[in-house]
């Protein structure tokens, strides 16, 4: 059971780090463009919230299978397939949680507005310099919210990881799929322990997020 928890935490941690890196430029782009069609991009990045995990999992499985066009690009690098691998799970989790990373960061950038960036420019900061020293620190609440939501959401995912991971013990088996398997095998005691752990963890994560948010509110005013 320890192995399952470890795999889950590794998956959630890696997904969170990679997704924050990926979501930052997307959120910045969405918050600074004015064209109406940027909302098309926004809708695409939000789609995983409303798509059934089985639909998402199905398409991911197709995309990560050996004969897919995406994988054929990776064949020269010795990668044949990412289906039923831990790496595949990371990719799937990133797609699944993308909206939970993009939305809070985009909101934070939009709440900041353009003025701090203009002020920084008049203070000789290049656009990249201003982005790193003004936009990122001012949007830190958005990043914190995104990190906690993505981490918790990844721990909570079930359908996607089952379809593209196949719940292979020691490799792609995570807490949620393990609980399902334990219940199927009528091992209610172990299922209870794992399930209760997830509830406590999720509650603690959300509480931490709200408390930190509140603390920052006080600090700023």
């Amino acid at each position: 059971m320890g192995e399952v928890v470890l795999t889950t935490l590794r998956l959630a941690g890696l997904t969170t780090v990679l997704l924050l890196i990926l979501a930052t430029p997307i959120a910045w782009w969405l918050s600074t463009r004015r064209a109406w069609w940027k909302e098309v991009v926004a809708a695409v990045t939000t789609l995983p919230i409303i798509l059934p995990p089985s639909v998402l999992g199905f398409y991911l499985l197709v995309a990560l299978a050996p004969q897919s066009p995406l994988m054929s690009l990776l064949h020269p690098f010795g990668v044949r397939t990412l289906a039923f691998t831990f790496e595949g799970l990371v990719i799937g989790s990133m797609v699944y949680s993308l909206p939970f990373a993009v939305q809070p960061i985009r909101n934070a950038f939009e709440a900041m507005g353009g003025r701090p960036m203009e002020a920084a420019a008049t203070l000789r900061a290049s656009p990249l310099d201003a982005f790193l020293t003004v936009a990122l620190p001012q949007a830190r609440r958005g990043f914190l919210t995104a990190a906690i939501l993505v981490f918790a959401h990844t721990i909570g995912e079930f359908g996607v990881v089952l379809m593209i991971g196949g719940a292979i013990p020691g490799k792609t088996e995570v807490i949620s799929t393990k609980i399902y398997q334990l219940v199927e095998g009528l091992q209610y005691g172990d299922a209870h322990r794992l399930a209760a752990g997830v509830v406590v963890f999720s509650f603690a994560a959300l509480l931490a997020m709200l408390l930190i948010d509140r603390g920052w509110d006080r600090g700023l005013n």
Partner: protein, 248 residues
């Protein structure tokens, strides 16, 4: 067109969100030039063009250096210009000291910090967060922050218009001190004739996107030391309403 070696000369023409700017202007090498005119005349747009924050076709030469012409557009962060916005726009995640040094570090060093702190009376504020400042204090920090970037041109967009009377009275003496020590040209947008009379040396008037020279403020309002502030304001208002014709 030859490149003037001193002062500021600029022309900007183009449309911004349905508004047409067609502005040609000159600033003297030193002294504060007030830019006045009705709301919607394009004053802030002109200031943004000078800072490079809005890009319109045109030409801008500051102290002999071309900041913009047909084939050159200096990005805002490469223009040695200090800007004070109507709302102080301090960087909320930094302290007062952090705000003052943000530009200074990028403009070549922290030299001059002590003088600026002294000039604007910022010493008691240095360690504070910017959220804990009054409106007048915020603008003083914004002004100090702009000065510390060693600008060759200072732009002020109605820096005290949103302050209440008490805060204005508190900050005006600092602006007058600045006026006496300032060795670079400054463009000061203001609606307030009293402010213009106290702070400006020259006047530009703006209407419907066009600039007309207004002449020297001092000629009209300089020798008024014997009169009250209210009277001086009244006189200045009347003079500005009459258009303050350029010197003959």
């Amino acid at each position: 067109m030859s490149v003037p070696q001193t002062g500021v000369a600029g022309v900007f023409r183009g449309d911004v969100g349905g508004f047409r700017l067609d502005a040609e202007f000159k600033l003297e090498p030193t002294g504060i030039t007030a830019l006045s005119g009705p709301s919607g005349a394009g004053k802030t747009t002109l200031l943004r063009c000078i800072a490079g924050l809005t890009r319109l076709a045109g030409r801008l030469v500051v102290g002999g250096e071309v900041w913009q012409d047909a084939d050159r557009f200096l990005a805002p962060h490469r223009r040695p210009v200090g800007v004070v916005f109507q709302e102080a726009s301090l960087l909320a995640h930094l302290s007062v000291r952090g705000n003052l040094l943000y530009g200074a570090k990028r403009a070549g060093g922290e030299g001059g910090l002590d003088d600026t702190v002294e000039l604007l009376g910022l010493a008691p504020l240095m360690g504070r967060g910017v959220g804990a400042l009054s409106g007048g204090e915020r603008q003083r920090v914004a002004l100090g922050r702009a000065l510390l970037t060693r600008p060759k041109l200072l732009l002020l967009d109605e820096p005290i218009s949103s302050l209440d009377a008490a805060a204005k009275a508190e900050i005006l003496p600092y602006l007058e001190r600045l006026h006496r020590t300032l060795a670079i040209p400054a463009l000061y947008i203001s609606h307030d004739a009293g402010e213009i009379a106290r702070l400006a040396d020259h006047l530009l008037l703006m209407k419907d996107g066009k600039v007309t020279p207004g002449g020297a403020v001092r000629r009209v309002v300089a020798d008024l030391s014997g009169v009250s502030d209210a009277e001086r304001d009244g006189l200045a208002r009347a003079a500005i309403r009459a258009g303050l014709q350029p010197e003959a």
